[in-house]
Symmetry: C2
Subunit: 570 residues, 2 copies
């Protein structure tokens, strides 16, 4: 036998039966060579795995590296030790800032983790007349990307309105290009369709989008399943109700576990392994959770060379002590041990991304002044009705509220009404505009935060209760050319630097996470209450996430994709 | 709604839950437009399917059109009414006779049924030094075929010995070409590995062959499943034992139902629908049998556009009255009704294949004379020990027997010993040789049969108990330039004409089936006892089907792929 080493006596995951059996696994080069109840070979190294579980490397088929505010090399360094050996990254944040050039920079990075790519389908997320992005992904870019073997799918198609229109919209053209690629073997078309149901859902799927990774309910799981959709379940979808539904109806074949967005501070505690553990905690049998984070995602993405421990497949292997925490003892990537518990991580890849100089200095807008945050009206009246984005305590959806605010000397008294002001500074130097929205449920007292990490266009979003703090935060973002800043008392309290495109750090994630934790703490001290303050604030600018959002063009009703005036009747 | 028609009130197969629910299904053009509990649209035709079952079109991913002794157009005409809307054909018989030219002729035929192709991996089935075929499929042919979008896989790799050798054998090179096609999205590699187990099976799978369609036992099902093999179950594999194993371990995801070989006379009674019914009869729940003949085969072949009744997928639909017989009431192919019970079949496609003149007149060998069937030995002895192919009553495997036969005047007395003589006339005009073998369990009295439909090389095989009958049969085959002939009393008793390449009829299957039934009857009257006389005799020449077989080079031990002398000690 020409094996390089043998993992002996492990309880090995039998993918097609979703159970564990005691087996020896021989590895030769990058591949699994043999799986047998008893293997031995003189002169070949043996790893005793008695009492341990051996599962295939985890495969995350829907995620955004930029959600961790880092770049592929660094992402790979951090997440391989969690057993995540393959990801399919939808680099739509870097694409919104730099277009295909940004995606190519990602793809050019050398990583031990296999990083495949989704083509960002919605850059910008809606249309150029609703929001200003740094770049667009159009037909030509899609064609170029689709020709690359590392590109497996069109990423989260979300504009249901344009997709299901009779007109020849851009998204319909992009979907067509991807469906036509290579005859029968087209790219997968991934969707983002929360709250779409019935005839509209049929129409959405009819166009070729047959996966969804957004939040699910028991009803949506069953409806989408029966209409042939593959479901990708992230943390927020793994409610008891949804897990019970998946288990009751044995939907495992049709389900993959995914991360979608992992913040840098979360990233230090785990990645898809944590989601897998969470699924188990929520009641999914461990064997099924392993199946849904290894085999079903591989199959969905046509990655026939992995996701199962069988001869000839890639030797992407994770050794575990238990099926509860999913914290690896050892991780093998393509037959190489890339992590062993108790041994220091390989540090070779930690380095400042100085190779990416062309991606620095990308925030181009003027400094704010206090007057920017005084909301005026021409109307000669004592009060006005305004539309308000109501932040929820959980999740990123807002509700569209209506409030009557006093007007004094032509100035709308939003501060007195206990609201926060949101301002979006177009930051690509294209329009030079500022737009405004009002927010309920953000900060409880004075203070502000500002960021260029504001999905998906990453314009400069400022949110605050006091103009002085808003000015301080906005100005600091310009100085550091991107990041997340919290201010209080006219001074910056915490900051995370994101100098690459205004959205990515060039420092090790450990360092970035510390910075971000400080920003989070500062936001909480200012009264921001949400399960994820950062994501909650950043998605205030995301016009495809319900219900009312703010772009550099102003407020947008997400479902109808129509502009909403801040002041009613205007 | 832009639907063309709506099928109302059917019990529709919910693929991902493997159950039936009452739904309406709207079809627009070639695709399913919507699936909903209640659809209606004024002016759109409605088909009332109350009380009926609607399932996706059946998909057969491992089969040989030539086994039905016919050509694609005719095959499509006969099998679409059975609900078989897609097949993946391994045209390795026509390839053995005419090479890639024969495959191209198949692919060029216009059929309503979608016919995809497997690349014949083993043409000839072993090596040119073991058998003479009309053509070879080599690296260049594989490259050409792999580039065609209708080609989905490399077909049944069977030469385990060459595949797992360390040497750079032809089959290893062919597998490599197919694995490397298009990066991650390689072709499927289909296998043929009966009786291979343990380390040898690991090694076989390691080379990339991860499906098998040969006969299974409960043990082989579990071993292959645990090693990551996809199992394609044909009639002979659907034993109670195997079905019980599949059901007990819930292996449906990993199983597809297939036909492999369907004789022309069988073809008049059904195709994959009959296998599906048989699986149900053997204890597989009907919902699982439907799943394994629609969705799992589509997925195995990366046919993401079909195999499920959901919006955007092909409107390949079968309406059934029950889930027991699987005899369709209506069949839709790409949204068109192609069969309705009680209405005559479309006859448009029945016509003699006169377009294929270049594929006629392909049997090139001399006429046999009585002396050809006298077996002599140089040895001066009164008896010799000979190797005998022992035909079984069921299946195509032979056993290797040893018998001592009298020798009189240098002539081996095989007739007196109750044996039959098999002779293979090389018929491509290349070597002009005749080889001999002895058979136990064929005819019980005088008589003979001859055929050019002798797998895989389709040389002229003559089998008989009396030289005069053998001469008559052989001579008649030459006259009709291919077919199946049975002779008795020095005269032809029955014959089926296969003038295209010596293996295909140019007549409607109904006519061919009658001819073949007469040959079968004649063989039975001559004492041939096997569940499929035709297949049993034809595979006497197939040197990859255990245990001892006869090619134009002589006897071959299949497992060791070594030549065996007819007379021991020679």
């Amino acid at each position: 036998m020409k094996a390089d080493f043998i993992i002996k006596n492990a309880m090995v995951f039998m993918t097609f039966r979703q159970c564990f059996e005691k087996r020896d696994v021989a590895v030769a080069g990058e591949k699994i060579y043999a799986v047998s109840p008893a293997l031995s070979c003189t002169g070949v190294r043996e790893i005793d795995a008695e009492g341990k579980y051996l599962i295939p490397g985890l495969i995350d088929i829907h995620m955004h590296i930029e959600s961790s505010m880092t770049y592929p090399e660094e992402f790979s360094r951090i997440t391989l030790p969690y057993g995540v050996t393959t990801v399919v990254a939808d680099a739509h944040e870097i694409a919104n800032v730099f277009g295909i050039k940004g995606i190519r920079w990602f793809m050019d990075q050398k990583t031990q983790q296999d990083i495949f790519y989704a083509i960002p389908s919605s850059v910008p997320s809606t249309r150029p007349e609703f929001e200003t992005s740094g770049a667009e992904i159009g037909e030509e870019e899609v064609r170029q990307l689709a020709a690359d073997d590392r590109v497996l799918c069109l990423g989260e198609v979300m504009n249901a309105r344009d997709l299901t229109s009779e007109a020849d919209t851009k998204i319909r053209r992009l979907v067509r290009i991807c469906r036509e690629k290579g005859g029968g073997r087209a790219l997968r078309i991934e969707g983002h369709c929360p709250k779409i149901t019935g005839a509209e859902l049929c129409r959405f799927i009819y166009e070729g989008v047959d996966a969804d990774h957004t939040q699910q309910s028991s009803e949506s799981v069953l409806e989408k399943t029966d209409l042939g959709m593959f479901l990708e379940l992230q943390y927020k979808s793994l409610t008891k109700e949804v897990v019970d539904t998946v288990c009751e109806h044995q939907l495992y074949e049709n389900v993959a576990l995914i991360t979608d967005d992992t913040m840098p501070d979360q990233l230090l505690h785990g990645h898809l392994n944590r989601i897998t553990a969470h699924a188990v905690k929520q009641g999914m049998p461990a064997e099924k959770a392993v199946y849904c984070s290894t085999y079903t995602p591989a199959r969905r993405m046509h990655l026939d060379d992995r996701g199962i421990i069988s001869p000839g497949k890639l030797a992407d292997l994770v050794l575990l002590s238990d099926l509860e925490h999913f914290e690896p003892d050892m991780v093998f990537k393509r037959g190489r041990c890339v992590f062993e518990k108790g041994k220091p991580l390989q540090q070779g890849e930690i380095r400042q991304k100085d190779a990416a100089q062309e991606f620095y200095h990308s925030v181009h807008c003027r400094q704010a002044v206090p007057e920017d945050f005084v909301l005026k009206t021409d109307r000669n009246c004592s009060s006005v009705e305004v539309s308000v984005m109501e932040i929820q305590k959980f999740g990123t959806f807002t509700r569209h509220g209506i409030r009557r605010l006093d007007v004094k000397d032509g100035v709308i008294c939003w501060q007195e009404a206990g609201l926060s002001l949101a301002a979006v500074f177009e930051r690509y130097g294209i329009r030079g505009t500022v737009s405004y929205g009002l927010v309920d449920g953000a900060f409880t007292g004075p203070g502000a935060a500002a960021t260029t990490w504001s999905h998906d266009c990453h314009n400069l979003l400022v949110l605050g209760n006091s103009p002085a703090d808003m000015v301080a935060a906005q100005n600091r973002i310009l100085e550091i050319q991107g990041g997340y800043v919290a201010a209080f008392d006219g001074k910056v309290q915490a900051e995370a630097h994101l100098p690459i495109g205004g959205i990515l750090s060039d420092r090790p994630v450990e360092e970035l996470a510390q910075q971000l934790a400080q920003v989070r703490d500062a936001m909480r001290r200012l009264g921001y209450e949400n399960n994820n303050e950062i994501m909650s604030m950043s998605t205030l600018a995301l016009p495809v996430s319900p219900e009312l959002k703010l772009t550099d063009f102003g407020l947008l009703d997400v479902k109808s994709q129509s502009r909403i005036p801040l002041i009613q009747g205007v």
